[in-house]
């Protein structure tokens, strides 16, 4: 029933293939990593003819499973040189699933250099359309034109000018749910640049005329699982209606992490920011209330989400400025750059959406640029000018557009808070040691969504570092990374993890949904095994690409520069980091 769509940009042919037996139970990250490992030479140039981009909805995407409209996008990253999976919440994923497509594999490069294409996929097939008229333009200008042309039932994947320039922080853009805005990003790792190198600017999908849901092997089991998971999401303090995420959104973390002394400030030089309260979730809620004259609660990024954590920020005159100001994005342009204005962070986020950039890497890059003296910390206007350089593709813009590590190297900045070339997100390892383990050891580079980890201090046995304690910490870190890899394969949003790691029935529900859809018989142990298999195959790719344990390390400066207010350095020993992978 479902097929793989192979898109060859050299021949401009799109062909449907049968799904090989071994891929049949896979979805999301599991499938994008499996295909990447099978088809992409680990030593290839990420922007050359042999890299590929794989899009895959999750195992339960396209069904009635709650909060399951995620898409994984994978390939070899031009930013890190490792395997990469990046993930977004968008109705595009459900449309692809309903079109009966398990994965879209994009390969080859156009014979005509600099030529860009749009691929239009409907129930009648896949068609290539020249995209010249949309090249060099902002996505806020182009997306409405595409929706006019292809209809409001369409969903659109696109790359912005940053992808056209093949910049290593170019993200992959998808439309959101109600507004059809170009605002949901599979941001990390520069996969937008890989699509740029293949001349594929847009994939427009429309599943109109096809059944409204993907086929299910065991309806009763699926329904049972769906109900358990829904119940868990509706009861947990974080995910429930009017819980933390629905009321304040992820940006509520700004004040919380600030009080924990772990909010990276001014390019990771401190763990608290004096302007935190001005840019936190409460400030967003209050600012909108003042500007709209009413309270505005959060909305769903994609159909079927019951957590509903996305916000929209409004200008003083009551018109829409940008959706959305998430924790990571507000932090990256806010605390990390010393900026305390939501109007400034809002504009910087809007520019990222427009130019096609990863907000986390972009904010990290501006912060490194500030450290280099290109702007003062806190100078919002100058930060906006630097973003315009990126959008114009000037020589300075091209330096910045290739990320924090490249910018740091060019301008002689040592304090570059990255791992494997990818800049760290909004948790400071010297205050949150467990996440430092994730940043250092995940196959993805410094990535906060690759796996929640347990604070090493929680796992210490009698305060001493002995062999058993090390193995204990490593196993827990590894198992959480494995569970995350599995969730990312189901098509569920990772935020379900808050609920399912606390509520056993919720976890069971997720597994029953998958068994219901696929007709498999997985248990909790199988989930762990599948997760470990995913990590193992990704690690193998990275090893073949030239990565060793010497790359699984925090940036050196974190080992000797104490971070206020805790005044600690990152002291988790190398042996502990290495032991995560000894399995």
């Amino acid at each position: 029933m479902s097929k793989i769509l192979r898109v060859n940009m050299t021949d401009l042919k799109a062909t449907y293939e049968d799904v090989p037996e071994k891929y049949k139970p896979m979805g999301g990250r599991w499938l994008t990593s499996a295909i990447t490992c099978d088809e992409v030479p680990p030593t290839c140039h990420p922007l050359g003819p042999n890299n590929k981009v794989v899009f895959a909805p999750g195992i339960v995407t396209g069904t009635a499973a709650p909060t399951s409209s995620r898409v994984s996008v994978g390939g070899k990253s031009p930013l890190t040189g490792t395997i990469k999976e990046t993930n977004a919440g968008t109705g595009w994923s459900q449309s692809v699933a309903r079109l009966g497509i398990k994965a879209i594999v994009v390969e080859g490069q156009p014979k005509e250099k600099g030529k860009f294409w749009l691929l239009h996929i409907t129930k009648d097939g896949a068609k290539f359309i020249p995209a010249d008229e949309y090249v060099g333009k902002g996505l806020y200008e182009v997306y409405p034109k595409l929706f006019d042309r292809f209809g409001k039932k369409a969903d659109i994947m696109g790359i912005g000018v940053a992808g056209e320039y093949q910049m290593a922080m170019a993200g992959v853009c998808f439309n959101d749910h109600e507004g059809k805005r170009p605002s949901r990003y599979a941001g990390r790792g520069g996969i937008g640049a890989v699509l740029g190198s293949k001349g594929l600017k847009f994939i427009v999908v429309d599943s109109t005329g096809l059944p409204a849901a993907t086929p299910i092997a065991d309806e009763a089991l699926f329904d049972q699982g769906r109900k358990k998971l829904t119940e868990a999401l509706r009861t947990h303090a974080v995910t429930k209606p009017k819980g933390a995420l629905n009321t304040y959104g992820t940006a509520v973390l700004i004040n919380i992490m600030n009080e924990a002394g772990g909010l990276p400030t001014r390019n990771f030089s401190s763990g608290t920011f004096e302007g935190a309260a001005k840019i936190a979730g409460e400030a967003i809620f209050e600012g909108n209330k003042q500007r709209l004259g009413k309270e505005l609660y959060n909305h769903a990024c994609s159909p079927g989400c019951i957590i509903q954590c996305s916000n929209t920020w409004y200008k003083p005159d009551g018109s829409e400025h940008v959706s959305c100001q998430e924790y990571e994005s507000v932090w990256a342009f806010g605390a990390n750059c010393g900026i305390d204005s939501l109007d400034v962070t809002g504009e910087l986020i809007r520019l990222c959406n427009d130019y096609g950039l990863d907000t986390i890497e972009a904010g990290g890059t501006i912060a490194v640029a500030m450290e280099a003296g290109l702007a003062k910390f806190g100078d919002g206007q100058k930060a906006i000018e630097l973003m315009h350089e990126i959008g114009k593709g000037t020589p300075l813009g091209r330096i910045l557009g290739n990320g924090a590590a490249v910018t740091g190297k060019v301008f002689g900045v040592v304090r570059v808070p990255g791992v494997k070339g990818q800049n760290m997100p909004a948790y400071e390892p010297r205050a949150v040691k467990g996440i430092g383990v994730t940043y250092a050891t995940t196959t993805m580079g410094a990535d906060h969504t690759a796996g929640y980890t347990i604070a090493p201090e929680i796992l210490s046995v009698g305060g001493k570092l002995d062999a058993l304690a090390v193995e204990g910490k490593a196993k827990v870190s590894r198992d959480l990374q494995a569970a995350t890899a599995f969730v990312d394969s189901t098509g569920h949003c990772l935020f379900i993890a808050f609920a399912i790691l606390d509520i056993a029935e919720g976890f069971e529900g997720m597994v029953e949904e998958c068994n219901g859809v696929l007709g498999t018989n997985w248990s909790g142990e199988d989930v762990n095994k599948i997760g470990l298999d995913i990590l193992r195959m990704e690690r193998k790719f990275n090893e073949a690409a030239g990565f060793t344990k010497a790359h699984d390390r925090p940036p050196e400066f974190m080992r000797y520069e104490p971070l206020p207010p805790h005044n600690t350095v990152y002291d988790v020993p190398d042996e502990v980091l290495d032991s995560v992978w000894e399995f």
């Binding site: 303090a237 509520v252 004040n255 009080e259 924990a260 002394g261 409460e282 209050e286 347990i454």
Partner: protein, 99 residues
Amino acid sequence: MIEIHLYGKLRRFARDQDPTGISVVHAPVQEGDTIREVLERLGVPMEEVGSNVFLNWQYSALTRKVKDGDRLAVFPDDMQLLYKWYFPKVGRDVEDDRG
């Protein structure tokens, strides 16, 4: 005296309640006071207090003792977003032992 920084609906116990600013109460404390006792004395209903409580930047149990000069930060029950195992908790609450 200790500084108590309040967030969300708990800001109402401070004089300055601007959600974009600092809502702080300066409270006198005595030897042996716990975080819970300090909050109860302030009139904070304990069911409104979430698990995100920080004493001097450390994730803390309500049973932890405070002393003069400390900084306490308290988030309400509808602002619990931290993945619970990110930080070791200093001190133990009854719920932790029930675990």
